[in-house]
């Protein structure tokens, strides 16, 4: 097995509850992931696949209820530490034929427990940047003040002057033009690309072990996206940064990831080395292969100018079917496995070294 991973997520479940439909929204339904030191894990998936909720759950950013209800998140910094310690004490689950149908949770106790678990880790050891930077930065503070706040919180530079210098250092590191001028700017005074760089600087200013980037390029222009991707690539090589990149843009994921995890309907359908997943996608999960084939690229067009689209709607995680979640849209079901696909949910099984797939095609 690879050296102990920096972060390991085991059987993570995060549910929300729709009072109108009296049903659970099973956003994250049993996710297992591992991120090794210095590695970039790309988590790709369509909307509602649970990719963002998974990483938000690890950092305790879920405020809606019931939120995180089961699982372990082990962070191997100096010593292994479970970020979800004490979860079982606050929650009681009731299952009906294998599926969670009732949850009791002491939300307030769990909230306090999360803050205790993550003290010093959230923002300090694991930092995070988000989508649409202009809304994600505090509009009432200058970007300089927000960056030096991160510096003062998590590094030795406590007094304002030193923190300011440190913040300027990071502004230069993310290639913002004229950092001393930008230091006193407000988010509304910057372009989208500039604001995203400021947020990256703010995250790095805490000198974290790991950076989680949640859709960092979404909503930006093609040319600006390319610049941000270049920046992340440069930071990876220069600081040996461990990066978790969440995106629905397969192009960005392909460009930056060492390993890729494909998520759908709240579960990981496939994970493995980036090159293997992308180039030999026909040996992988049907969903990945179909997704790559349906990308609107000239090379994907078949005869008659049509794209091989995946039929049906993206799974809405309120009505989770029995058996495999991709079953209704899968084209590669044959009679040998049709019954199992319909009835039984496949496990995430190692198909070739380093590559795990959740599909009955590959299990005896």
């Amino acid at each position: 097995m690879s050296p102990t991973p920096l972060l390991r997520i085991e059987d993570l479940r995060t549910y929300f509850y729709s009072r109108a439909k009296q049903a659970f929204i099973r956003s994250v339904d049993g996710v297992d992931l591992e991120i090794a030191r210095g590695e970039t894990l790309g988590i790709v998936g369509e909307s509602g696949s649970g990719k963002s909720v998974t990483m938000h759950s690890t950092l305790g950013l879920i405020t809606a209820t019931p939120g995180v209800i089961s699982g372990r998140v082990v962070f191997h910094d100096e010593a292994p530490r479970d970020l979800l310690a004490g979860l079982d004490a606050c929650t009681r689950l009731e299952r009906r034929d294998g599926r969670i149908m009732s949850v009791e949770k002491d939300n307030r106790a769990w909230q306090k427990q999360v803050e205790r678990n993550l003290a010093g880790v959230r923002g300090g050891k694991i930092a995070m940047i988000f989508q649409n930077p202009k809304a994600a930065m505090n509009p009432y503070e200058t970007i300089g003040a927000q960056i030096s706040e991160a510096v003062r919180l998590h590094t030795a530079f406590k007094d304002p002057a030193a923190a300011r210098e440190r913040a300027l250092h990071w502004l230069e590191a993310v290639r913002i033009d004229s950092p001393r001028l930008r230091y006193d700017n407000y988010p509304y005074g910057l372009s989208g690309g500039m604001c995203q760089r400021a947020m990256v600087a703010m995250a790095l200013a805490a000198e974290p072990r790991m950076l989680i980037a949640d859709e960092p390029t979404t909503g930006l222009d093609a040319t600006i996206q390319a610049r941000i991707v270049e920046l992340l690539e440069e930071l990876k090589t220069r600081f040996g940064m461990t990066l978790v990149l969440i995106s629905h843009d397969i192009g960005v994921i392909a460009r930056l990831s060492d390993r890729i995890a494909v998520m759908y309907g709240g579960q990981v359908l496939e994970s493995g080395p980036a090159a293997m997943l992308l180039e030999q996608s026909e040996q992988g999960h049907p969903y990945t292969h179909a997704l790559l084939a349906s990308m609107p690229r000239a090379k994907n067009v078949k005869d008659g100018g049509r794209l091989p689209a995946i039929e049906g709607e993206v799974l809405d995680t309120i009505n989770v079917p029995r058996g495999c979640r991709f079953r209704e849209r899968c084209q590669r079901i044959h009679d040998g496995i049709r019954a199992r696909c319909a009835e039984q949910e496949p496990e995430l099984v190692e198909v070739t070294p380093g590559r795990r797939v959740r599909c009955w095609l590959y299990q005896a």
């Binding site: 209820t65 923002g123 809304a135 994600a136 930065m137 505090n138 009432y140 991160a150 805490a206």
Partner: protein, 321 residues
């Protein structure tokens, strides 16, 4: 901290706010004039003569002052006198209006500001608490209490409070405002403020507004980023989630509290401008009621001026809007 170095553009915004206030006060004076002009018995003439004039006397008065009968002629002459601060003479007491208002204005201002502080001091914490525990049992109960309080008829509560204090503490029931000081003098001052503070009808609205604003800001993306950064959420929430709503409440609830003051002054026999207005309405004493209405409008505009100043100080973008 607040961006104090943004004072250059701030003056631009405040200038604009003053211009808006002047335009509004002009509008208010026009509305008041039209009401008086349309009133039977031509109260406007009474303004000049200090008492109701017969037709012939009125024509003579106009001639004497050399203003034409047309409405805008009268309006301009009346406005001219106003700008000079001459509100005319009270038809009831014969005293110049400005003097009567000076005497009572201070007390009403104290009552209004005091009760505004009481409303905020009680309602804002309830609102914030309800925002922090959206579904909580206690939060729901507190909001329910807020609704109950603001539905209470102010005057009834006033009498109850007076009864409570006169029978239990043996105090003279009604503050006569004159004569030797009572043993609990400060209590007389506090009671009306408390009653108006809780009973001005805007209490539930303040709780609901704070609960919604604080709740909304807690869900904003930049607060989530602040928590992801490991920073205390409150450092990033207090500006938009608390400071701005409170300023907004002061500006928007000022008229309610001023209105409520009239009732409370009546119940407690509190010799303020409210009581003066009530008396003026009884005796159709136009110079007084007119002056009080104008002053009330000015006070309300001061409230929104304060709100604009806080808004500009907190929100850097405002100065460039």
């Amino acid at each position: 901290m607040l961006n104090l170095n943004a004072w250059k553009p701030v003056t631009a915004v405040l200038l604009r706010e003053l211009a808006v206030t002047l335009a509004l006060l002009f509008g208010v004076s026009l509305v008041i004039f039209l009401i008086l002009y349309a009133a039977p018995g031509d109260p406007f003439a009474a303004l000049l003569g200090g008492r109701m004039l017969s037709d012939s006397e009125r024509a003579a008065a106009y001639e004497a002052l050399g203003i034409s009968q047309s409405w805008y002629g009268q309006y301009l002459s009346w406005l001219g006198k106003l700008l000079v601060g001459d509100f005319g003479v009270s038809m009831r007491s014969g005293q110049p209006v400005t003097q009567e208002i000076m005497a009572s204005g201070g007390r009403t201002l104290f009552l209004t500001l005091g009760s505004l502080v009481v409303t905020l001091a009680v309602a804002v914490p309830i609102g914030v608490y309800a925002a922090l525990q959206p579904g909580g049992r206690r939060a729901w109960a507190l909001t329910m209490v807020a609704y109950l309080i603001s539905a209470l008829p102010t005057f009834w509560i006033g009498y109850l409070v007076i009864y409570l204090f006169t029978s239990q503490f043996g105090m003279l029931p009604i503050l006569s405002g004159v004569g030797e000081p009572q043993p609990y003098e400060w209590l007389y001052v506090l009671l009306p403020v408390l009653v108006l503070g809780l009973g001005n009808g805007a209490f539930a609205e303040v709780v609901r507004y704070v609960r919604e604003e604080t709740g909304r800001v807690l869900g904003e993306e930049y607060v989530r980023t602040a928590r992801a950064k490991g920073a205390a959420a409150w450092r990033h929430v207090y500006k938009e989630g608390l400071l701005l709503p409170v300023a907004e409440i002061i500006a928007s609830k000022m008229p309610f509290v001023l209105g409520g003051a009239i009732i409370v002054e009546q119940v407690f026999n509190w010799p303020g401008m409210g009581r003066l207005a009530w008396q003026a309405a009884q005796d159709r004493d136009f110079p007084v009621i007119l002056a009080i209405t104008l002053i009330a409008a000015v006070v309300v505009r001061l409230g929104s001026l304060l709100h604009r100043m806080v808004y500009v100080a907190v929100n850097p973008r405002a100065s460039h809007e």
